[in-house]
Symmetry: C2
């Protein structure tokens, strides 16, 4: 007997998806997805919805630092930016441009989510092809303008975030709660908003996650790896010279000094990570000796 077929089919919601995770696989939706589809330039797919959820969950957390926007590909962020300047349309347009150009190569065909209204001005500024745009509100003129394109426009409704997956014919669910308020452990203080921003992006990046941030934008995202050291290598390689003087966030503690060493050698000057390793003292001494600033996160922020 199959749990999903037996028990859940009753709750199947009548939404047509193009196909499942791949064209030869069927998709099913249980429960009414809490969003309004303002435009469907091309039929919504399984991957579109999950990408949109990934982008929107991250963007919602950005409210903690005053809002921002995220570009997601394959359910993983490739460019994220927060509103550093203010709330004029020019600031917001700049924020979107920063997120899209943070990893310009990957942004093509991406999913953009913003924490602010999608205005006609912002819509007109979008030069990259996007699969989906997610925003809490859309100007009528923006919908009209974007409706000429193949994009899907999603306006999420209010709902509580959960993460969960199917395993062994059952559904395994976890709360998704970001309560990460970093505290300065030692070193010269950095902009706390930017430190928190780095941690928020790490929360949305597949573990092991290392995220490097500079001037309000991600410059190197390493994730989805079986070792933290490897994510540090990916993030610093992508960041290149932008790692110099930057802030790096880790989604969990450093089990050894090796991952931290890669960040420091690349020029990172501030690290935020939870503690809890049996080698914490080692790791913290190493950070201190290398003259970097260390913020501790009260929570681990794994996402898979």
């Amino acid at each position: 007997m199959n749990f999903f077929e037996d028990k859940l089919m009753l709750e199947k919601y009548d939404i047509q998806l193009r196909y499942g995770e791949n064209p030869h696989e069927k998709a099913y939706v249980f429960g009414r997805p809490q969003f309004e589809l303002l435009h469907e330039g091309k039929q919504l797919s399984f991957n579109n919805i999950l990408d949109a959820e990934a982008a929107w969950s991250l963007t919602r957390n950005l409210e903690v630092v005053g809002g921002g926007c995220a570009v997601v590909k394959h359910q993983t962020p490739c460019g994220v930016s927060y509103l550093r300047d203010g709330d004029t349309i020019a600031d917001k347009t700049r924020c979107v441009a920063s997120a899209l150009s943070a990893d310009g190569e990957s942004s093509y065909g991406g999913i953009l989510a913003t924490s602010f209204e999608m205005t006609l001005d912002i819509a007109r500024s979008l030069k990259t092809f996007l699969e989906v745009i997610v925003a809490p509100a859309f100007e009528d003129e923006a919908v009209e303008y974007l409706s000429k394109k193949k994009v899907r426009l999603i306006r999420p409704l209010n709902y509580t975030s959960y993460v969960g997956k199917i395993a062994f014919d059952s559904l395994i669910i976890s709360e998704r709660r970001f309560d990460g308020h970093p505290e300065l452990l030692f070193g010269e203080p950095f902009d706390l908003k930017e430190v928190t921003f780095a941690l928020i992006v790490a929360e949305a990046t597949r573990s092991n996650a290392i995220v490097i941030v500079k001037d309000g934008v991600t410059v190197g995202i390493g994730g989805g790896q079986p070792s933290r050291k490897r994510s540090a290598w990916i993030a610093t390689t992508l960041a290149g010279r932008n790692a110099e003087g930057a802030i790096a966030a880790s989604d969990a503690f450093f089990p050894f000094t090796d991952g931290l060493d890669i960040l420091i050698k690349a020029g990172v000057k501030c690290v935020v990570a939870p503690l809890g390793s049996i080698r914490d003292e080692n790791v913290l001494t190493f950070a201190k000796e290398n003259g970097i600033t260390f913020y501790s996160s009260p929570i681990r922020v794994f996402r898979h």
Copy 2:
């Protein structure tokens, strides 16, 4: 109103998980997970179940090439090997050792799944600390021996694989079906079993996925990246000289020649990938000109 709280709570299954994806998050299980927990050296966690499902789904697909085993960390494979020699215990022990040493650094604290019975001999050969061992059968002596350790032992029951996640307060499900029988397009034929093996591992690796295989074992796994080119860079860097003469699988078509170029420059001599790009002709001509063998996969094998 929350779909999960309203509708599904009725089906909540009384299994105690240590905590959710992170210690500050609660976990819930809906439906009875289809496995027997033969030993729980440490309380089962949310991440354990999802890791076990990832390892087991991959291992089940390995039946297509005669069985094998997989080591998973953070829901992504880090070492996979198939049974090339035969079915003696020595062959199986060697297969497990190959998978564990394929990425020895990452295997520590991993989840091991085998397609064959866990015997006392195999159990005794395990020198790496493992969080979970998944097998279709366990010798009584193996359970007794392993029960002295902190490991969890899982024997899956029969069930149909689905993938799916929670998004926008609903559950989005897809079938998970591997029907990938690669066909030779051009070039000198390679061992079809090994070509299929590479594709099976790519199916279990987060998209974009590039998997390099040599002599029955993975030597470089690149995945969880927003660009295929980047996964090719990760896989070839990890493979190093082992990429020479090796087979590489891609979970989707190459949109440009750049990713393929990285593989060829590293020494890969055979590639398996689905087609479907508007630049297929370009990509295939490039492969031909570089003298590599190309197998086409009838299906795309994204997993996220």
